[in-house]
Amino acid sequence: MNWQRTFTIARTDLRQLVLARDFWLPMTILGSIFFVIVPTFLLLGISSLGDVGAVQQISETLSLLPERAQEQIRGDTPQGRTSYALAVYLFAPMAVVVPLTISTAVGAATLVGERERGTGEFLAHSPASTREIYLGKLLASLAPGYVTTMVGFGAYSLIVNLIVGPEVGGWFFPTAQWWLLMLWVLPGFLLVGLSLVLRMSGKVRSTAAAQQASGLITLPLIAIAYAQASGALYGSANTTIMIGAATWVIGLYSTARGMGSVKRQRLLGVADGV
């Protein structure tokens, strides 16, 4: 295993992504909408509306959240509690799904894309092993999604702290639970998803087919987002750590299996009639 080659493959793929305006422009716009624009307008709206009926109603629905989650909600006023709940349970999970979806789309195109562009022939004749190629591609798919998520999440944290913070007694986001989710659970989920996406990318006939299939693999990510939005994941830190550990075990196993799925012949586009 030559890590220099792995990083070379990853870096070259990332460089191509950076140069691909048609990739990063929609990603930036989409990220901005979910991380910045929508939360800013809604949270500002709630804060400025005051104690009106709509806010009261939303505030009352918070009683549907699990008891443990309800205990975490800060704020003395209905709009403060509503804003806090929306910031922690609704907007953040929704925003996380967007760049992750984009990341899987990148991963879906990575191996089959080499074959479609004819550059798979170059990689197939290169001294890089199929493991190095797979891991290089995995890193190149993982990095943009995770980095974008973290940057977007940082911006989101700043916004909600500035808007909602004064109403709930100061800066509050990310909560301890969110730190765990972002730094421990999310990378594991990403690894599981991308390792599967890359395996499909190495096997399917076209980028379109790989992207269709990768849509299915984002389902677990959407599930975790909904779980967080409903407060179901707002259990103890130990539960979150356990969930994260499980995703890492599955992710590493799936990655190890995935390394064996890349075949030079497939990069050439002639395996199994492809």
Partner: protein, 327 residues
């Protein structure tokens, strides 16, 4: 069918078979590429040339047979073999979004080059193939010729022992193609081995030290051009250019030493036992009242040899013809 070569083989394929589903690409292919020479794999589209190259580097595993490249089995020592090979595939396989430098650096780093060694190699390779002026531009904007030159430069960055060129002049104008062929010759002057696939007979003419004619995934003949000529075209040729005559050509076939007379636009192509019969031909034509413009004794071209080989193979039933090629 493979000739016995005294030279050590850089590449050796023995009874190699490869199929894609029900479609055979290679069928019992025997092939030897002598070290330090240019071996040309000659054959029509679909003959198995590209698959043979892919098998040589280990990019593709054969279903049967044995492959030795630079003395090693590509399936077991693929990494070291590919480190010692420079490949230019039929399509240049370049990254269009990246610059020329980025493309070269990518390959250089995969071959373990870094720092000043890498920079020097890139500068030398780019200069050699005349692409240094365009290295900062995006490859997507390159012409076909520039892409081929960049792919060639990329193939020699790491100073490989074995160069595998699959249709390297495909899509090039004649001038660029000629320049590429000259550069390929220079490669072997430096001791490298070159295996080149082509279906352009003119390209192979004069460039090949060793020829392997492929058809339907198998080798029809192999050897150096001179020995192949001797084996498959033992007779000499005479090209005859004559001004209008009262049909004297029929008389020539009765001359001793004349084996065949084929009328052409200018006059005739005559197959003779040897060139010593030429004076008799000229005398017979003059007697018949022909006015002769030119008599040219010559060796058969590679094209003539190629079709003779294929005819012979067809006659012997060795080559299962799937493509009809007309002269």
């Amino acid at each position: 069918m493979t000739s016995n070569l005294p030279l050590p083989a850089a590449v050796s394929l023995r009874d190699v078979g490869k199929s894609f589903g029900d479609t055979p690409a290679l069928r019992g292919l025997d092939l030897i590429a002598p070290a330090g020479k240019i071996t040309v794999l000659l054959g029509p589209n679909g003959a198995g040339k590209t698959t043979a190259v892919r098998v040589m580097t280990g990019a593709m595993a054969p279903d049967q047979g044995s492959v030795r490249t630079l003395g090693h089995d590509p399936e077991r020592h693929g990494e070291s073999i590919r480190s010692a090979c420079g490949v230019v595939s039929a399509k240049p396989a370049l990254y269009d979004r990246l610059s020329g430098t980025d493309n070269l650096e990518y390959s250089a780093r995969l071959h373990g080059l870094t720092g000043s060694t890498m920079s020097t190699s890139i500068a030398m390779a780019a200069g050699r193939f005349g692409i240094d002026h365009a290295l900062d531009s995006q490859v997507g904007g390159y012409s076909t010729g520039m892409k081929t030159r960049l792919a060639l430069a990329r193939s020699v960055l790491h100073d490989p022992q074995l160069l595998l060129f699959d249709e390297p002049t495909s899509g090039l104008d004649p001038e660029s193609a000629q320049a590429v062929l000259v550069l390929i010759r220079e490669m072997t002057d430096e001791g490298r081995t070159v295996v080149m696939c082509t279906h352009h007979l003119v390209e192979a003419e004069g460039l090949a030290d060793h020829i392997v004619v492929l058809e339907d995934g198998t080798d029809l003949v192999a050897g150096d051009p001179a020995s192949l000529v001797r084996e498959y075209w033992p007779d000499d040729l005479v090209d005859l250019s004559i001004i209008s005559t009262p049909s004297p050509l029929a008389d020539l076939s009765f001359l001793s030493g004349v084996r065949n007379v084929q009328p052409t636009e200018e006059g005739a192509q005559i197959v003779v036992d040897d060139h010593s019969v030429i004076p008799d031909i000229v005398e017979a034509l003059v007697k018949a009242g022909a006015r002769i413009r030119r008599v040219t004794p010559r060796e058969p071209t590679l094209e003539e040899l190629y079709f003779a080989v294929r005819r012979t193979a067809r006659d012997l039933g060795e080559g299962r013809m799937s493509v009809e090629v007309s002269r």
